[in-house]
Amino acid sequence: MKAHCSSPGETGETGSPHPPGPRSPLHQKHLDLGSGLGRSSSWTCCSSSSQIMGVRKSPLQTIGEEQTQNPYTELLVLKAHHDIVRFLVQLDDYRFASAGDDGIVVVWNAQTGEKLLELNGHTQKITAIITFSSLGSCEEKNQLILTASADRTVIVWDGDTARQVQRISCFQSTVKCLTVLQRLDVWLSGGNDLCVWNRKLDLLCKTSHLSDTGISALVEIPKKCVVAAVGKELIIFRLVAPTGGSLEWDILEVKRLLDHQDNILSLINVNDLSFVTGSHIGELIIWDALDWTMQAYERNFWDPSPQLDTQQEIKLCQKSNDISIHHFTCDEENVFAAVGRGLYVYNLQMKRVIACQKTAHDSNVLHIAKLPNRQLISCSEDGSVRIWELREKQQLAAEPVPTGFFNMWGFGRVNKQASQPVKKQQENATSCSLELIGDLIGHSSSVEMFLYFEDHGLVTCSADHLIILWKNGERESGLRSLRLFQKLEENGDLYLAV
């Protein structure tokens, strides 16, 4: 057993025995580089990561089988798709829909894993899916599912009956993103141009041809505006709703933001006042949602990191897609970014990264989400789904590295000079660490996306055509007991002792 895990002995030797002692030149270099960049939010929190990385044979943190904090002890494999499953969307408290390259949409029961509906209609892979739940005032209660496909159609489905409500096929290009503006009761489709539709599926207005690459992301921002990511540019459009004067809808380009050096891959709203974008070369920009100015800029995810002591790692890190920002998620305080293979926590107040895990996965992280209980879930191309907990750093003594074994992806990189853990005493009061608390192994191929249900657990979809429903074993057991006694009661078999 010991042979398999990263030897704990090493941890002890390199971590704790000489903590403040010989401050390594590397560390100094790191500091210099950090300040050299001249940014206030220079890269400061590598300590946790470097600590871990420094002592481990493999750069990838692993966790043993006994994941005591991992609640997902039951899983259910759902099979219905014949190709990569790329999208998951929640319909209501217990249902979700999955869609992927096989062009079908499947509606599932998240509690039982039962397949409820299969929506067939697209001839090519699905490129975007969104739900359009009717407002409370609306008499038609049914939930609509909008799907866009590479066959240049958008189909509107009735999520309860699998009926095709309507099919729109007047698109010049593949619709790559869909968004719903609930307040205006319209939805937008973004391809090479941007179209605005109402609930009755009338085309209200559209922009001119924007770009051949098309809109890659689209979010709503205040003041009836939307921001679209088109290549390296961010374009802000304003929707003009019909007023007393004109009955026509209109969409106007308001501003173009050209600050990104490379293609924008991710774009989300942080809160009502700001949104965040991430680019292929690791630029993270936080924008003010009202005046569209840059609030913060961060692009040092990989540059001069202290552990670039071996040639090998430099090579590894120089790959540009290692720093591309694939996905964001955020809460009130932090923006969580999936950068290459790593995870970074960017604090909005401090405007700097407060925690990171440089190699959270073996391959690019594709999707992350923040759970209410300070937990972060990430999924990656390597087929794993990992649960992290954001912990305040209490002391700098080297924490025992979670032992793991069976490092089948181990690079075998022997980092013998053991890169002295970098500790920044002056800032450790605020820095946090991401602790791996669970590793959900199940998929055999890239995990494209996941969906978290408060009550039913986690749903992951993958390129291996499968969907896995991860359940909290304890809770499920309790629920089963509950149902058992309900059934006993129904059958009249329940005798309660007086």
Binding site: G113, S477, F485
Partner: protein
């Protein structure tokens, strides 16, 4: 040295061993007279000793109108079974007690012959002279050519045990009624067909006669009729009358279902036939017409014959056989049913009663019994094996294997309707248990074989088992029993250690790496086992020595073929064994050798006493049983403790065990006695079984072999406990190995520990060669996986290590296991490597009983309301959880990981209970 104990076994035991055991220790009034047939080697429970036949059989006789009572066939159709028993005489006896008045003919006041649908009569008959008792079931079949259209038959279940017949009367009656019903249904069908043919003939005859008469009429217009013409007219009239009679008979036979079968539970197949007939009958409201159409449609090939006026009754004609009387299809079905009956009631009465109670109880446990009870034996491998065994093609006794394997609806029907017919009977049986019945009955069968049969077995064995691996396995049993004496005597001599010390040593040895989840330990050669450990644990010695093949791994089942010297030298190296012990050991091996390789030059000396050696050996072992007892009394608590672990009942309650030392002693006595006896007999008889009863025994054989292999596994691998724990706690166990047969063998053995999801096959995949996928882990809980030394194999291993969180991996080639740590107490009791159980089937039963106990714990845990739901609103989940924990720990007495086993079983129970229809819920993969 080799032959000495053999000789001793023939003689009195005092000569053999005077010191520790004195025969006349018992007062005269307590002494039991020697079993009169002991010299023949029969067991004292055999009631058959006085009878002329070796075991129960079924006889079908007929009261032939030509030759009188005559036996037709027996089931099993083996002359060895009934031996010198006079079948003719007994046929006369049983036919003579038929009191039913089966009157067919012209009843007064009726113009036409009337068929009497008589009820079967059921009689119990005893013949003390023959030592035979019989349940006799009389029935009449219809035959158009027979006198009065009837042929009286009877089926008799003949047994030497009167009580068996009397106490199983209801069951026998129900079963035989089914067989009879089957025969009669077929007979009615055949009779109706015959009548139709006859009608067709008559019709044709009438037409011919008519035309002849017309021609004659035309020929002479003189106004008067020639005598010839009158004769023709008469003939025509009689034909007309005959037609009407036959039509009436046909109507009667066809109306039977409506009159008789109303309200009777019939199997769907028969029902179909009946409905078929009924619909036929209904369409034949106009008999003439429809008879024609019927004939033309159904039997177009039949060409009507001219019937001579006087041809109907002639005695020189050969009577129809039973098969002709009934439809062939029905006849084979009946034979299947009869051999089913024969299987069902095979064995000792007490065993039958026990198994009936067993089944009845099992049925009551419908909530938990799906977990470990195997209702359906779905083992493709076994089936395949059975097929490969050349079964004796016998026309009269259809090989039940083929009947069970072939998807003939008929057979299924017979099982299905079995239930319905039994339902009215006192002790209900489950239809699903049909299979199991065979097996369980089989077990007794082993213990009730009589000596002469035993010899037959030996004969057959010599023929059959040379190439079969099974016989070799059996050797293990024999050997182990033969070594019993040695180990025990030694244990009584060398008891320097207190049991506690030994135990702790054993534990520390067995859990090699306690620091981690992974128990990665190589299978220890015996050198790893401390000598004192061996010495004070008799069965530990046993384990090493009785399975010389075991030392090299479960794998070498061929080991027993190797000359016995090897085993001896091994023993010698292990410990300095006294020569007496060696010799006794050799005997065991010799007898094995004699069984397996009767012509091996190395064993020629044992060939001489080959045939006879078995019974005396048994005798000797019985004595050893006493000796075990004795050594126990010599204050060797550890050894007693161990030896008692063979008995689940005592083992469960140690206090009880200590308190009632005498009881345990006697039971041990019995135990060792029976084991030693049975093992020697069973080993031979069980090998004989496949050839004789291919399928009926397959499941029993399967159990036995699984038990035997499981036993070997437990004795051989120190990590057997965590492996079994993995299975019980729902963690998929992957058995990785290069050799398919070895992997399959182990998987089959371990499958007995795998809880099922529902009433279908266990989630066990015996052999997989492609890389495993997450779906496999969800579906299967025990997988045999091929190790491939190629890039593809690397992929397989990669997948395995990837899913290591859900699996335990047992590497057979390297003898390693990777699995969670186990520190409970449940599995050690379930799978004690020091167990004194020697036989696979015994061990299987032991496992079953332990698992049943476990199930009841899981049941309690699952269905205790307050454990899972808060008793009042304010109660927190933590409180409920702690209540659960304390219940598991204190009330159910579960330690450490045992809790997880019960929790897993509880989840399965919940899922099963909530399943509306089986198969709807998905199996969960638990981490």
């Amino acid at each position: 040295m080799i032959s000495a104990p053999d000789v001793v076994a023939f003689t009195k035991e005092e000569e053999y061993e005077e010191e520790p055991y004195n025969e006349p220790a018992l007062p005269e009034e307590y002494s039991v007279p020697l079993f009169p047939f002991a010299s023949q080697g029969a067991n004292p429970w055999s009631k058959l000793s006085g009878a002329k036949f070796s075991r129960d059989f079924i006889l079908i006789s007929e009261f032939s109108e030509q030759v009188g009572p005559q036996p037709l066939l027996t089931i099993p159709n083996d002359t060895k079974v009934f031996g010198t028993f006079d079948l003719n005489y007994f046929s006369l006896r049983i036919m003579s007690v038929d009191y039913q008045a089966s009157f067919v003919g012209h009843p007064p006041g009726s113009a036409y012959p009337k068929l009497n649908f008589v009820e079967d009569s059921k009689v119990v008959l005893g013949d003390s002279k023959e030592g035979a008792f019989a349940y006799v079931h009389h029935l009449t079949l219809y035959d158009l050519e027979a006198r009065g259209f009837v042929r009286p038959f009877c089926m008799a279940y003949i047994s030497a045990d009167q009580h068996k017949i009397m106490q199983q009367f209801q069951e026998l009656s129900a079963e035989f009624s089914r067989a009879s019903e089957c025969l009669k249904t077929g007979n009615r069908k055949a009779f109706a067909g015959e009548l139709e043919k006859k009608l067709k003939d008559l019709d044709y005859t009438r037409t011919v006669l008519h035309t002849e008469t017309e021609i004659q009429k035309k020929a002479n217009d003189k106004g008067f009729y020639s005598s010839q013409a009158i004769e023709k007219a008469n003939e025509l009239a009689s034909v007309e009358k005959s037609i009407i009679e036959h039509q009436d008979l046909l109507k009667q036979i066809r109306s039977y279902p409506h009159r008789k079968l109303k309200g009777r539970d019939l199997c769907p197949g028969e029902m179909e036939h009946i409905q078929d007939q009924a619909s036929q009958a209904s369409t034949t409201s106009n008999p003439d017409e429809s008879a024609d159409t019927d004939l033309y449609t159904c039997r177009p090939a039949y060409t009507p014959k001219l019937i001579k006026a006087k041809s109907t009754k002639c005695f020189d004609k050969k009577l129809k056989t039973l098969e002709e009387l009934c439809d062939t299809e029905y006849f084979t079905q009946t034979l299947a049913q009869l051999s089913h009956i024969e299987h069902m009631f095979r064995g000792d009465l007490c065993y039958l009663l026990t198994s009936q109670i067993d089944r009845a109880l099992l049925k009551q446990q419908h909530i938990t019994n799906f977990l470990f009870e195997d209702f359906v034996e779905v083992d493709d491998r076994m089936v395949g094996k059975q097929e490969s065994i050349p079964s004796k093609p016998s026309q009269d006794r259809p090989p039940s294997s083929s009947l069970e394997e072939c998807p003939i609806p008929k057979v299924l029907i017979s099982v299905g309707s079995y239930k319905s017919s039994v339902e009215s009977v006192l002790i209900k049986m489950e239809q699903e248990l049909g299979d199991e019945e065979y097996k369980e009955v089989e077990v007794t069968e082993l213990s009730s074989v009589d000596p002469q049969e035993n010899l037959d077995y030996l004969d057959m064995d010599m023929k059959g088992s040379i190439s079969s691996g099974e016989s070799i396995e059996v050797l293990g049993t024999e050997k182990s029993t033969s070594v019993l004496s040695k180990s025990d005597s030694q244990a009584s001599l060398t008891v320097p250690l207190s049991p506690q010390v030994v135990r702790s040593k054993a534990v520390s040895h067995r859990t090699i790496s306690e620091d981690s989840i992974e128990v990665l330990s190589t299978c220890p050669s015996e050198a790893l086992i401390p000598d004192d450990f061996k010495a004070s644990y008799p069965s530990a010695i046993n384990e090493e020595e009785s399975y010389p093949d075991g030392n090299e791994g479960a794998i070498h089942f061929q080991a027993s073929i190797s000359p016995p010297e090897l085993g001896e030298s091994e023993e010698g190296s292990v410990e300095n064994t006294p020569s007496q012990i060696d010799s006794s050991c050799c005997i065991g091996k010799e007898s094995d050798g004699q069984l397996v390789l009767p012509s091996t030059p190395a064993h020629t000396h044992s060939d001489e006493d080959g045939v006879v050696s078995s019974p005396p050996q048994r005798h000797r072992q019985k004595d050893q049983g006493f000796r075990v007892d004795f050594s126990m009394e010599n204050a060797n608590p550890s050894s007693r403790d161990n030896s008692c672990e063979g008995f689940p009942a005592y083992e469960l309650d140690p206090s009880h065990l200590l308190a009632s030392r005498d009881i345990s002693k006697t039971s041990l006595d019995n135990y060792s006695d029976t084991t030693s006896y049975v093992s020697s007999v069973a080993s031979t008889s069980s090998d004989r079984i496949p050839s004789a009863y291919p399928a009926g025994l397959s499941s029993d054989r399967h159990k036995k072999r699984a038990g035997q292999n499981a036993l070997k596994f437990i004795r051989q691998y120190p990590f057997a406990h965590p492996a079994i724990y993995s299975l019980l706690s729902g963690r998929t166990l992957v058995v990785l190995g290069e050799d398919e047969t070895i992997v399959r063998k182990l998987v089959t053995a371990l499958a007995i520990f795998v809880p099922s999801y529902g009433c279908y096959a266990k989630p066990v995949k015996h052999w997989a060669s492609s890389p495993l996928h997450i779906m496999d882990f969800q579906k299967w809980k025990l997988i045999g996986l091929q190790r491939v030394a190629s890039p593809a194999g690397a992929g397989t291993l990669h997948a395995l290590s990837r899913y290591s969180r859900y699996t335990s991996i047992l590497d057979l080639d390297n003898k390693t296991l990777r699995c969670p740590l186990y520190r409970g107490t449940l599995v050690p009791r379930l799978a004690d490597h020091r167990t004194q159980i020697k036989r696979g089937s015994t061990y299987y039963l032991h496992v079953q009983s332990m698992l049943t106990q476990l199930c009841s714990k899981a049941f309690l845990y699952t269905f205790c309301h307050h454990l899972h739901l808060p008793t009042h609103d304010k109660e927190t989940e933590e409180l409920v959880a702690s209540r659960q924990a304390s219940f598991l720990k204190l009330t159910l007495g579960l330690v450490n990981e045992d809790v997880r086993v019960v929790q897993y079983l509880a989840e399965l129970l919940k899922l099963h209970y909530m399943q509306e229809s089986p198969g709807t819920s998905h199996p969960m993969l638990r981490c």
